[in-house]
Symmetry: C2
Amino acid sequence: MIPSQMLKGTLEGCILAVIGRKETYGYEISQQLEYYGFGKIAEGTIYPLLLRLEKNGLAEAVYRQSEVGPQRKYYRLTAAGEQELALFVRNYRALSRAVDNLLQETKGDAVYEPQDKETVAGK
Amino acid sequence: MIPSQMLKGTLEGCILAVIGRKETYGYEISQQLEYYGFGKIAEGTIYPLLLRLEKNGLAEAVYRQSEVGPQRKYYRLTAAGEQELALFVRNYRALSRAVDNLLQETKGDAVYEPQDKETVAGK
DNA sequence: GCAAACTACATTGCAATGCAAGATAGAACG
DNA sequence: CGTTCTATCTTGCATTGCAATGTAGTTTGC
């Protein structure tokens, strides 16, 4: 279920993308991420991340009443947030290409030629 | 060039993939990664990671002489390392699918209906 | 009314990991 | 000898996902 280390750096961008689509709040974001196949992302991950986005000026928030529970804190992207999102997409594509290049050759398992002889040495 | 946070968790798997293709050593791995589009990965990243792989039984190493410089420490995957690599590939694919799902809808910028009624959920 | 369940947000402290900076050392070349 | 390229390693730091925990409003059932 997607190891946490692999989410580092990616999750922030993904949450920017979620917010960028439509104004939304933490609890809903966590449901969205699950829907998209990220698995259950802990609340202890999401809320601090949202606060960080706000603190860094990438998102801004307003409280609104809910008819079904406590107040919700709705986030939307700032201009800086949209730039950051665009940057994330570029970076993610770059990583994705690199990994795909590599794994593609890994599949077949024998693309590189055999190398020179052994000259063993202790380890 | 690919922010460091985004490499977390992914880099280890990629290095497993590089080693899995053919026995190789740290310095060459760094050149391979650059060739594949990962950018320059610091040596302070690669060598500790290789030591960790060895310590965790995912790779094993032998020293060999080089004709052009100091000794090289060649790594190859253990059986456990190959399993770990296979696991990484599965996890990476899962993440990749999730992000692609999300970004795909982000592109057009207006895939979600302007709702405020529930009727919720994904498209 | 009261307990449970769901919604909703937040904080604390920890663990994993990429990286900068710096050290060490062999080989080749002018 | 000094510089450059090859090659490995260590220390300490910053970032960030997450478990654990706390708070609080709303709804439902007894």
